[in-house]
Symmetry: C2
């Protein structure tokens, strides 16, 4: 097909105007990535002003095509595109990287045209795959998802997890473009300019692959058309480009990563622009308005109440599965994702009951989390991811970026602590509370029985933001009535009397160790209060403080977790600013071994026996 020559020239002109803007804004901010921007100028210009369908004044429109800049450091070219589209003013783009400007050094959703924060490399494609999954299977709509990937970041394994995922789920509404500009931060990338080598890998992963000169408008347009026509598999365009394309003496040179270039280099770029008055003349294609409107009903989701009998034994991970399926009953947009552990986490209950609300992510936790972040975008679904608690440590960076994305991500980790027993340390979640507490915007539930777990799951769906729910492997007794009311940041005082001398705080398996210790101590005339915190973040400061003071300031925390960043430190920090309370921490303090759960609780000093000893020796 022949393209209109004036239109082609207009796209080149737009690309060059965007280049100039990218150079100007990074000169103004005295930092940033103009060369990584310039390689992609034609790619972004052709996407925004020929290929993509969107409303420039309503970037989040349900039927608008999506664009993810996985190589987030190239954001000047993206900001320039929105300037070219007329959504941002030149003054706005010139505020790049200034304090208070939403045009940050790497893109964040503080901007209304950004769905996900990028800048930690190798994650954007998974986000895009999540959006494409929603588009194809939930929305069943026409919008397409575009993702610009750097060649350097293609070394990240998470990219290959995303490609395998997109290929497995036949995401033909996803188009990835690799900006193969040869140079990474410090040297040539793994691919250099070997387009065939790169294409071969994408092809082997089951994708449609097209090689183009990525600085040639016609080749890009032709490739986009092929991609649109390809059914049943995602397309990846391997675009050979030059870093710093168009910048005199800097194009294709090393040592120009992440720094401004001389401002006078814009002259020769300007000279190439044919239509000097072309800005704003390119039309933007309108979306095909066929995406359904979605109301997630966050804050008002109600599931069928728990139905357990006091003292029956049920694992909290099992209760999670039950609650998840109930969420599926009432909210068709609650989506469960798992990494081939669904019969351990019990997310399989969603698969059994609502198969269309379950995404198997195979053993690729990084991609699972970032796909979930994509699924959550524009509030089109609420993703609940699950695996062993310890394997979320595989995706800490993805969860961190989810926080920067202000994502509505839910993570549910089973198999907490040494109480898993014989499988040994590699499978024991002993850092998970520390990792999730460190995510600055997180809420953390650590429910201790099945009733509390169902309520935690329901609450998780009803708040917007990152949630972690910690579940346990062993079956433990039901201690709460089915109509017990749970709230975030409200602890339960399980045991108390007028004569309490100590306050014990435990959660999950250790709560039961606290209760057993309390029983035994009572027979010796030592009364202790026992608190179940329910949420570890936020902690119920008031209740814990009140009871700590009531018992004379003697607090013992007991957790199936390492010391750093766990319950003990969180409780200690509560009392950091005041006197009169002492906190003794019982926790796992070395790399544990395989063995029966009860013996391990004992060996690592978090059993009833250890608690009784700590009470007796509290000085």
């Amino acid at each position: 097909m022949e393209y209109n020559k004036e239109h082609i020239q207009a796209l080149y002109d737009a690309a060059n105007r965007m280049r100039i803007s990218a150079i100007q804004m990074t000169c103004a901010s005295k930092s940033g990535h103009p060369t990584s921007s310039c390689s992609a100028a034609e790619i972004v210009a052709t996407l925004f002003f020929d290929e993509m369908r969107y409303l420039k004044d309503e970037p989040k429109h349900p039927s608008s095509d999506r664009f993810v800049l996985s190589k987030g450091h190239a954001c000047p070219i993206l900001y320039a595109a929105w300037e070219e589209a007329g959504h941002l003013t030149h003054e706005q783009v010139m505020s790049l990287r200034q304090l208070g400007s939403d045009l940050e050094g790497h893109p964040t959703p503080r901007l209304n045209f950004i769905d996900v924060a990028t800048g930690s490399l190798g994650q954007g494609l998974s986000n895009a795959a999540g959006m494409a999954y929603v588009g194809k299977y939930l929305d069943k709509a026409s919008y397409r998802v575009y993702c610009l990937i750097g060649d350097g970041e293609s070394a990240e394994g998470s990219i290959w997890e995303a490609i395998a995922f997109a290929s497995h789920y036949n995401l033909d509404n996803l188009l990835g473009i690799v900006d193969l500009n040869r140079l990474g931060q410090t040297q040539e990338t793994l691919f250099g300019h070997d387009v065939e080598k790169c294409a071969k890998r994408f092809e082997a992963f089951g994708c449609n692959t097209i090689i183009v000169d990525g600085n040639k408008v016609e080749e890009l347009l032709r490739a986009y058309r092929c991609a649109r026509e390809m059914k049943g598999k995602p397309t990846f365009i391997i675009a050979k480009t030059f870093k710093g394309k168009g910048i005199v003496n800097i194009e294709n040179e090393n040592n120009w990563h992440g720094k401004p270039v001389p401002l006078d280099t814009i002259a020769s770029i300007e000279a190439q622009i044919v239509n000097k008055n072309g800005r704003g003349k390119l039309s933007i294609k309108k979306p095909i308005d066929d995406a359904p409107s979605v109301d997630l009903n966050i804050g008002n989701i109600k599931i069928a109440p728990p139905a357990y009998k006091i003292s029956d034994k049920v694992a909290t991970r099992m209760a999670y599965g039950i609650a998840l399926a109930k969420l599926g009953d009432v909210c068709p947009r609650v989506i469960a994702l798992d990494a081939d552990t669904k019969n351990s986490t019990f997310s399989e209950k969603m698969l059994d009951k609502h198969p269309e609300q379950f995404i198997e992510c195979f053993i690729a936790e990084q991609n699972m989390v970032s796909v979930a972040v994509g699924v959550a975008c524009r509030n089109r679904a609420i993703p609940f991811t699950s695996t062993f608690a310890v394997f979320f440590s595989r995706a800490v960076d993805q969860i961190r970026m989810a926080a920067i994305s202000f994502s509505n991500l839910k993570c549910v980790g089973s198999h907490a602590g040494v109480s898993i027993g014989e499988d040994g340390p590699s499978q024991m979640g002993l850092e998970d509370l520390a990792l999730f507490r460190a995510i600055v915007t997180s809420t953390i539930f650590y429910p201790s029985d099945a009733v509390a777990t169902e309520r935690a799951t329901e609450l998780a769906a009803n708040i917007y933001g990152i949630v972690f729910i910690r579940t346990s492997r062993p079956a433990t007794p039901i201690i709460y009535e089915n109509d017990e009311i749970f709230e975030i940041g409200k602890a339960k005082v399980i045991r108390q009397s007028d004569k309490d001398q100590f306050l014990l705080i435990g959660a999950g398996v250790t709560l039961f160790e606290c209760l057993n210790a309390a029983d035994e101590l009572a027979t010796d005339g030592i009364n202790v209060a026992v608190i179940d915190p329910f949420t570890i973040k936020p902690l119920d400061r008031d209740t814990i403080k009140k009871h700590a003071k009531r018992v004379g300031g003697r607090v013992i925390t007991v957790e199936d977790h390492y010391p750093a960043g766990g319950i003990g430190e969180a409780v200690s920090a509560l009392f950091g600013e005041e006197n009169g309370v002492r906190v003794k921490m019982l926790c796992v303090t070395g790399v544990p071994r395989s063995g029966p759960p009860d013996m391990l609780l004992d060996l690592y000093g978090i059993s009833a026996k250890a608690i009784i000893k700590a009470v007796r020796y509290f000085n």
Copy 2:
């Protein structure tokens, strides 16, 4: 080539004896993975009793071939191989998963024939690649490295990072075998039994690939020979096998992952053994003894002293690079690894001076960390990995497994905190202290000037174990004399007087904010003590406590980090068990923005101004 028929049968017999052992030990432990073991019986038998060269009584011999069981849950078949070799007794293997037995649920180096802990999937190949790199480029020896990979775990991106690495560095001494047994934990894997699909991916990543029937001894032996003859690239054998191979009614069936099978299934396996007295008759090939002996001199490594002038401004990341190159001068087995950030972390100084002691790992932090763990194996080298502090969050699971491996891994993270400025939150290390503190065996340095940084780097090389060094982007003043002595767990009291009313604790950029605050407060007649902790883990409990009490129990911690798991919580926990000290934490409490470093310190409440305010309002 034709193989001797008796020998072939003897290998089948060995495989079947190993199957029986694997079934017996998992029946005894009432848990474990017999089916994942049985698929690999012929693979492991042929490796151990035909292909590999090793000393069964000295598994760690420098010239012995290495074997990594990346699919760690299949360890019963590995333990059975060492039983077959005569290294373990039947009684020992029957102690599988019992408390106190080193034969844990997943392999750990508590066993002398295990180099690296496995069980968190997708990491073993990177470990193996690290060992192969050392074998080829440092030891220049004949030993080969073998890695058994599961098909389920091949979904992990880290596997593809490892393959790309092995291919890029032409690791022809590495042989990977994919046990394509079709079934994951809960369903068919991404590959199923499609050997071609799997092989195509490995081939596209630049590897020699051989497809075999993995339960056929002759095919395996032939493939091993081809692999040995292949020069310039690693070989991967795609071995089509059956999960539960040989177990009646269970072979190739779903729902038999990770559970014992009926003990009476061994009868039909036993019936297939031709030579009932064959145990111990297979010979084991001796190593070619050409690996050099290595003495890392840990504890006695001395580098040239720092050479700075007081008040000169030098970034601690720069000082790290300088010290690293000095370590290179005195220890040819200190190896630097970086993930395409070497001109930011300054690890490039090693590359410049000792190029053979530098491994570029490209943007693949997971693989970098696990390769480093491989490099450290058998004390053949000391690996120093570096990237931005925040990007170690990409490899938390790998670092966690390094702790379970008792590895001598060093991690150096630059660009800590909001003080990096304009690049924005995606590049800011604000959880890194929490993450590394949560690694139960870690030591954490947070040096505040270049002198301290050089000493931290030297100390890191001189202790065995996991170390994290946090460095900063901005240049900060030299405050220590070049001959200042630094020790792990010893803080420096930078400012003190008889009239101190407060204790300020800061590190890196915030130490200088504390000093500026101290100066300004002094002009108002308020004296404060200032402590530089030097190591965050362990903290100098004695010095901090002494000065906290001396100033009347008013402590303020200031850190360029989020609250959870950082310096403030660590200090609070120090005082958890005693009264009379109050700790006020100043830290970053929300997702930050791009902006100039100084303005960000101020905005997020960790500048001198914020400290002065905290002092004035301390109640």
